[in-house]
Structure formats: structure tokens, C-alpha cells
């Protein structure tokens, strides 16, 4: 890997890699698939930069590519529904403590369709604005607002009675 490319990836691996894998795991419900998709996007970025092409914001580029890779694999696996079921049990292997809020958001996330999960993760985890999300996902801003509204409702339901299953959104 050329030095210039190497330096860009130093920062990416230090500050962004883990966050991207986690955010994609929230969307897909599969940590291994998320890791694989981000790794694939990293490899494509290395090749892209190695051919002398430019990537303005490496993290954003890899986020978009890895999401597309993951979508394709989920489609092939036909596992969208299974992914949503897995989300509620997505946790660390060596987890000892688990705060209530982490349980609640996982429960709420598992009840949202994939596109709404993507909006939630981009907004609450990556801190993106509604307009930026609309631009990245190529959907109207109203769709983003609607997804966030439903996300709040799903979370509110999970908080009210975490033992009861949250009504699944279509």
C-alpha cells in the first residue's frame, strides 16, 4: 500500500473502523456480516486510491460502500427478517453488564424495517443531519423525519414495557 494511502487508513482504523462495523451490525443484526462488509469496502478503497482516484472523505465512502455490500449479501441470503430477529440478541460475547438503555434501543431497533434502522443509526450514532441522511440514502427529507418519528415511538413502547413485544412496523 502506498504511503499516502497508508496514512489515510491509519486514522481510519484508529477512529472510524470500529464505529462503522458497529453501526452496520445495528442495521444488519449480524456482526460477522458487518465486519466482512466493512473489510470488503476497505479493500475496494485501497484499490480505488491505488489507481490514483480520489476519495474525499474516507469514512463516508467506506460507510456507503459497506452498506451496499451488506445489502447485497442480505438480499442473497434472504435474511432480512432473520436479521431483525437477531438484533434483539446482538451483544458482546464477554458482556458482563448491560445498561437498560442499550437493551431498550436494541429492542426498538429490531422492530424497525432496514431502511428506518439505517436512518436511526446515521442520525443517532453518526450524528448526521436529516438533510445529510436524505442525501446519502437518496430519499426525501420527509422520509427521514418519518423514520425518526417511528423510531421514537418504537423506543417509547420498549421503555413503557420492555417485557412486552414492541408492535412491529411495516
Amino acid at each position: 500500500m502506498p504511503d499516502v494511502v497508508e496514512h489515510r487508513f491509519d486514522d481510519f482504523y484508529s477512529f472510524s473502523y470500529g464505529r462503522l462495523v458497529a453501526s452496520l451490525a445495528f442495521v444488519t443484526g449480524d456482526l460477522d456480516l458487518a465486519t466482512d462488509a466493512v473489510d470488503e469496502a476497505c479493500a475496494r478503497a485501497v484499490e480505488w486510491l491505488g489507481r490514483g482516484r480520489d476519495i474525499e472523505v474516507l469514512e463516508a465512502w467506506i460507510r456507503v460502500v459497506s452498506r451496499n455490500v451488506a445489502r447485497g449479501r442480505l438480499r442473497r441470503l434472504g435474511s432480512e427478517r432473520r436479521a431483525r430477529q437477531r438484533l434483539s440478541s446482538l451483544r458482546a460475547a464477554d458482556q458482563v453488564d448491560d445498561a437498560a438503555s442499550a437493551i431498550d434501543v436494541r429492542a426498538a431497533l429490531s422492530k424497525l424495517p432496514r431502511r428506518q434502522r439505517e436512518v436511526v443509526v446515521l442520525h443517532y450514532f453518526h450524528g448526521q443531519s436529516i438533510d445529510a441522511i436524505a442525501n446519502e440514502l437518496r430519499v426525501p427529507a420527509g422520509t427521514v423525519k418519518s423514520a425518526l418519528h417511528r423510531a421514537r415511538a418504537a423506543l417509547a413502547q420498549a421503555l413503557d414495557d420492555p417485557r412486552e413485544p414492541v408492535k412491529e412496523q411495516r
Binding site: A93, S101, L159
Partner: protein, 187 residues
């Protein structure tokens, strides 16, 4: 009833906490390097397979065309159907005798009408003559040495009127020439 602001805060904090609980595989740099090498290897294999497939197809096409062509210079042209065959006898008295198809063309200079497309020429000649067709650089029939010989040429002729003649000074004027009129085929 939890407020919208509180729900937003819980989303943010909950996702951050949930992310911190995930055990993300370490050493992504090594995995990326391995993946890049694998992709390059895969691309090289695909390129090699495509090159082999192309070569096999090209060999097949050339072999097909060789069925129609005996002159090495035109063997590399793409395969096409020969539209007509013309036999030319460049021997008698500096005047061309043309046979097409199965009949001798009269006239001085003789004139023949041909269909557009690939025309197969078979020219019998004696030294020293060189026949060309103006405007068709692919066609040259050179008769050198001491003995008579036969040259075959396959050339593509577009519709138009062409002069076939010997390049030796004075030979065309003496009658060593013919007129080829090429017409587009109907349909």
C-alpha cells in the same frame, strides 16, 4: 410519557453503549491486505480466462476464413462470405482476359460488374507484371521471377467503378487493364 428529547438522548446513549459492548475483530489492516491480494489474484485469473477465450475464438475465426483464402497476406482479415470469384489471365499479348462467373468478358478494356463485398480473385500471370486496383490497396498481384504463377486475393470492394491495371509503364495503355463496376446488392 417520555419526551421526544429524552427519546433522542436515549437513542444516542443506547447506541453508543451497545456499540461499546460489541467485540469487533481486531487487526482489520491485515484482513484488508489479504482481501486486496485475493481480489487482485481473482482479477488476474479472470483476465487470463478472458484472454484465453478470446484467443480460442480468434483462432476459430481465422481457421474459418482460411477455408476461403490461400494468400497469406489477407489471412488475418475477419471471416466474411465471398460474394463472387473472378478469374484473370494476364498472359496473352498484354491484354487481360477475365472470366466471370464461368464466362469470358469481352471488350477492350474488358468490363465486368460485380456485387459489393468480398471478391475472390484468381490471377494467372507471367513475369514481369504487377496488377493493382486503384483505390484498393489490399489488392496487388505481382508476377516476378522467370515462370508463370497464380496469385489469389480476397478483397472487399465497396460499390463504385474501379480500374484494374498493370503498374508497369505502358502496359495499361497497351491493353493490360479492365474496368470493375461494383454494385450494392439489393436487400
Amino acid at each position: 410519557m417520555t419526551s421526544a428529547d429524552d427519546l433522542d438522548r436515549i437513542w444516542r446513549e443506547g447506541l453508543t453503549l451497545a456499540a461499546s459492548e460489541l467485540v469487533v475483530r481486531d487487526d482489520p489492516r491485515a484482513r484488508t491486505a489479504t482481501r486486496v491480494q485475493r481480489r487482485r489474484r481473482s482479477r488476474r485469473i479472470k483476465t487470463a480466462v478472458a484472454a484465453i477465450a478470446f484467443s480460442v475464438a480468434a483462432i476459430g475465426a481465422t481457421a474459418h476464413f482460411d477455408d476461403h483464402v490461400s494468400h497469406g497476406r489477407v489471412a488475418s482479415r475477419p471471416p466474411t462470405t465471398v460474394q463472387a470469384s473472378v478469374s484473370i489471365d494476364d498472359a496473352p499479348g498484354n491484354q487481360l482476359a477475365i472470366t466471370f462467373p464461368g464466362r469470358t468478358v469481352s471488350g477492350n478494356p474488358p468490363s465486368v460488374t460485380l456485387p459489393a463485398g468480398i471478391i475472390h480473385f484468381e490471377i494467372h500471370g507471367t513475369p514481369a507484371h504487377q496488377l493493382v486496383i486503384d483505390g484498393v490497396p489490399d489488392f496487388t498481384a505481382t508476377f516476378a521471377g522467370t515462370a508463370s504463377s497464380t496469385v489469389t486475393e480476397n478483397v472487399r470492394l465497396q460499390p463504385g467503378r474501379y480500374s484494374l491495371h498493370c503498374t508497369i509503364p505502358g502496359h495499361a495503355a497497351a491493353g493490360e487493364q479492365a474496368i470493375l463496376t461494383v454494385e450494392a446488392q439489393a436487400g
